[in-house]
Subunit: 109 residues, 2 copies
DNA sequence: GACAAATATAACTGTTTCGGCATATCCTTA
DNA sequence: TAAGGATATGCCGAAACAGTTATATTTGTC
């Protein structure tokens, strides 16, 4: 069942989504938000980097539509806006496990 | 159902997979290979870039385990080594469509 | 062995991106 | 309105990356 080819614009959009998810710190932030919203301060404490850096990456995630932002008084809470990212991560993890397993198999027998 | 957190090494591996897939030309190459193997020359003709550029990106895809390389005589054929990438792309496309649709809804009543 | 075709590599350039630091902005409270 | 806490932004230097050109390597053919 051959799929229709994606247009150049569509490819750019997909590539951009992957680019957003290609940074370890951003993946870490998404993972930390998996079980519910967290403030910038909380996220900063849980990552090992500066608060400005966390804010910067959160903005990238938000611009990409992966995360949504809610301000309550003085603090800002971020939460997952698109849970399909976890499906994607699960598929990637499965693929990587498979690959590592078959590579490990080289040394067996 | 809270997932176990990924280790830093696992996150780096996943991020690297996304980075490999975050380049439009590489996505284009993967798409061109979807229905079967193609030679470097064929791929170069189908993309609008130089042959060295295609070879470079194919190498990146191969190193990442997304593509496999077979040499037959003078020409080299690449093919998809991990079809889970298409699952991933489909999920991303669905998410992006959804997002565009809801954005378009802003202008509707 | 010499030549031609197919593919890979090397060197270079311009661009992008990350992280850190300093600082600005916004909100709350006194 | 002044001060302090929370978050965002601007600027900088270093590193990574894409694309081009030239060239090397490999393979098949004469």
């Amino acid at each position: 069942m051959a799929e229709q080819p994606l247009s150049d614009e569509a490819i750019d959009l997909v590539a951009n989504r992957f680019k957003i998810m290609s940074e370890p710190l951003r993946l870490r932030l998404l993972q930390l938000l998996r079980n519910g919203e967290k403030s910038v301060g909380e996220l900063t404490d849980l990552c090992r980097t500066s608060q400005p850096n966390v804010s910067k990456h959160l903005k990238i995630l938000q611009t990409g539509g992966l995360v949504s932002r809610v301000q309550k008084g003085n603090t800002v809470y971020y939460s997952i806006a698109d849970r399909s990212i976890f499906t994607i991560c699960d598929v990637v993890c499965g693929s990587l496990e498979e690959r590592l397993r078959s590579q490990a198999g080289i040394f067996a027998i």
